[in-house]
């Protein structure tokens, strides 16, 4: 009666499509679990990249080439790289002590909420039509260019205003971030101002980046240094 109950969609596609879907779905789910399970933040970030790639493959399979490319460029290429950059520089790339929890109620709450989410997804899947209602409203895209032309048209006609407003918002956010970071340094005017100018140039001069335990080759000395607030 409902499309969700009939196991048609997977088998109705061609075999290569089904195989591609299965493989990338496994990759996506394995990556997602890895993000949560991995103790090391860098490993988590890498697992996230794996998930993003799996999703990109799924996009390609749906003939959404543009979305796939943007997924890889923006998320895997920029955002996770930024994550890693921050993780490396701030030296948080060590195993977290998970035994001590600053918010004791958050784990039970997380458990309850994830069961709620899982339950609602399953309920959607089994009770109603799949969340959008129909498999496809308009059918396949007519262009050879796939979704690129269609998306371009929509973004620059129907959704022009939201598109431009979003762009302006992002620029404002960037300018504000730069402003917030720069003001105290301009006041300082000391010898360090030179070192701190330009994002990474300043960060490289930061001793924490060099001497954090995760990346240093000397675990013996580092354990000690880590405990000291001011190294001798």
């Amino acid at each position: 009666m409902h499309p969700g109950l009939v196991p048609v969609p997977l088998l109705a596609t061609s075999l290569p499509d089904a195989i591609t879907f299965a493989v990338s779905a496994v990759i996506v789910i394995a990556g997602a679990i890895g993000v949560v399970v991995a103790r090391n933040p860098v490993h988590s970030a890498l697992m996230l990249v794996m998930t993003l790639f799996g999703v990109a493959v799924l996009f390609v399979e749906q003939r959404a080439d543009f979305l796939a490319a943007v997924q890889v460029i923006v998320y895997a290429g920029a955002i996770v790289v930024l994550f890693l950059f921050v993780i490396m520089l701030l030296g948080v790339d060590r195993r977290e002590a998970v035994s001590a929890d600053p918010l004791p109620w958050q784990r039970p709450l997380a458990l309850v909420l994830s069961f709620c989410a899982l339950g609602s997804v399953l309920a959607l899947g089994f009770s109603g039509a799949w969340s959008t209602g129909a498999a496809s409203v308009t059918g396949a895209l007519p262009h050879r260019a796939g979704d690129t032309a269609a998306l371009g048209k929509v973004v620059f006609t129907t959704y022009l205003l939201p598109f431009e407003v979003t762009a302006a918002l992002l620029v404002i956010a960037v300018v504000a971030a730069v402003l917030l970071v720069r003001v105290p340094q301009l006041r300082e005017q000391g010898g360090q101002a030179g070192a701190e100018r330009g994002g990474a140039a300043g960060l490289e001069g930061d001793p924490e980046a060099v001497s954090d335990p995760g990346v240093d080759g000397d675990p013996q000395g580092l354990g000690e240094r880590d405990r000291e607030v001011v190294p001798s």
Binding site: N40, T148, G191, D216
Partner: protein, 441 residues
């Protein structure tokens, strides 16, 4: 029988796609792979030989005629070397990084149109591995991914200099991706398609139809600079600056894994030269002759690519390495604004000439002085402090970081891969042998 198996495996064949087409695709992939590998081997030899000529040396001349087999000999030597792993390394990431470095270099070559149309066994196809609808975006995606190899190699080595190299690398590559993308947008604006084949076809026939000339020479120059920085070639090789960082991100690597990094670097050079030719010089476009029609486009493509390979070696011989702040200034204060402005100009020209020239005028009158002012401000701020190396050596910071006031002792990390942990700590903690130590991060 093979076709029967293929038909059961892949309904593609039920829809009229024959085994021949399938085989042709396989052959295309195999040929492109082999050609790229040979090109990389020759490129390594060519670079060493040419740079020797430019420096009044002889260069490799022992293995094979003119030393042609030198890279093969080096490869065999590296293959039989011991594969070392530093104790402080993150095992899995350390093993993964070289492959993350070499894969994007391979894959990006897939979208390069090498020749024109070719007919084999009644099937006409384009001489390129793939022509996906996302086209040139695939290149951007791959160049975005190539950051990971360098970044993770440096981080996972568990040693200082590689980490410094990888931090530099990630900042540099992310910064220069912006001008790279913007100049590609100008090309797309003109072509109206993302497909590399369409980009090449739009430039066919006359050399004044090449994007190099149609777009004005500016996007080409910006693209070339950004690409050089993106693949960490000199003068932008701060990532592996051997006089500052020992070997940079690949310091701790040895044997085959080091060879992979080496290979990836040269493969990137070849691939990116081919991409420049595709985007700005018409790819396989050029005058042909009535006989051997299929050959001339390939020769034109190879010739143009070769010119860029030569230019890259030349740049390496001629230019000193940039300082880090110069690198960032060039990227953020010059390349990105100019590329953006030129993109607006091209977009205006697409509407009509009045718009284009109007936009150019506004840019020159309003944005030019603003840019100049910004650069001047940046320079003034730059002169307030000492250069970075001196800051590390200043007493205040040295106290904070526990460094001896003389800065980091040179050569603290031996090239062989033994991590020197004592470089950053005042009282040197002697490594206690046999006491285990913490697990790798």
């Amino acid at each position: 029988m093979i076709s029967a198996i293929a038909a059961t495996l892949d309904p593609l064949f039920d829809h009229g796609v024959g085994l021949a087409v399938f085989l042709i695709v396989l052959i295309r992939v195999a040929v492109a792979f082999a050609a790229l590998m040979v090109a990389v081997m020759l490129m390594i030899w060519f670079e060493r030989k040419l740079i020797s000529d430019m420096q009044n040396r002889i260069g490799p001349n022992r293995a094979g005629p003119f030393g042609l087999l030198q890279s093969l000999a080096d490869g065999i030597k590296l293959f039989f070397k011991e594969d070392l792993m530093p104790t402080g390394a993150d095992r899995r990431v350390f093993l993964l990084a070289p492959y993350l470095s070499i894969l994007p270099a391979f894959l990006a070559f897939a979208i390069v149109p090498i020749g024109g149309l070719i007919t084999i066994a009644g099937h006409r196809f384009e001489l390129q591995v793939a022509d996906p609808p996302m086209g040139i975006l695939f290149l951007l995606a791959m160049s975005a991914i190539s950051v990971y190899g360098v970044m993770l190699a440096g981080w996972s080595s568990g040693s200082k200099y590689p980490l410094l190299g990888s931090v530099r690398a990630s900042a540099q590559m992310v910064s220069y991706e912006a001008p790279l993308g913007i100049t590609i947008v100008t090309v797309i604006l003109l072509t109206g398609s993302l497909s590399t084949r369409a980009i090449v076809d739009a430039q066919a026939a006359h050399f004044w139809d090449w994007n190099l000339i149609r777009l004005g020479i500016v996007p080409f120059l910006i693209f070339m600079i950004a690409v050089t920085a993106e693949m960490n070639r000199p003068p932008f090789d701060l990532v592996e600056a051997d006089s500052e960082l020992v070997g940079g991100f690949n310091t701790e690597y040895s044997s085959l894994r080091f060879a992979l990094f080496y290979l990836a670097e040269f493969m990137n050079t070849v691939t990116m030269s081919a991409i420049i030719v595709t985007l700005f010089l018409g790819g396989p476009d050029g005058p042909g002759f009535p006989f051997l029609r299929w050959l001339w486009p390939i020769l034109w493509f190879l010739g143009k690519t070769f010119v860029f390979l030569f230019i890259y070696v030349w740049l390496r011989a001629a230019l000193p390495r940039l300082r880090y702040d110069q690198l960032m200034n060039l990227g953020w204060k010059w390349l990105i604004p100019i590329a953006l402005g030129w993109m607006l100009f091209v977009a205006g020209l697409r509407i009509n000439e009045a718009w284009g020239l109007g936009i150019l005028g506004v840019l020159v009158v309003l944005v030019g002085p603003a840019l100049y002012r910004a650069v001047a401000l940046g320079k003034r701020a730059g002169h307030l402090g000492e250069p970075r190396a001196a800051v590390v050596a200043s007493p205040g910071l040295a106290k904070r970081s526990g460094l001896p006031a003389g800065g980091v002792p040179a050569g603290a990390v031996p090239a062989g891969g033994v991590p020197a942990g004592a470089g950053g700590s005042g009282p040197v903690h002697a490594p206690k042998p046999g006491s285990g130590g913490e697990e790798a991060p």
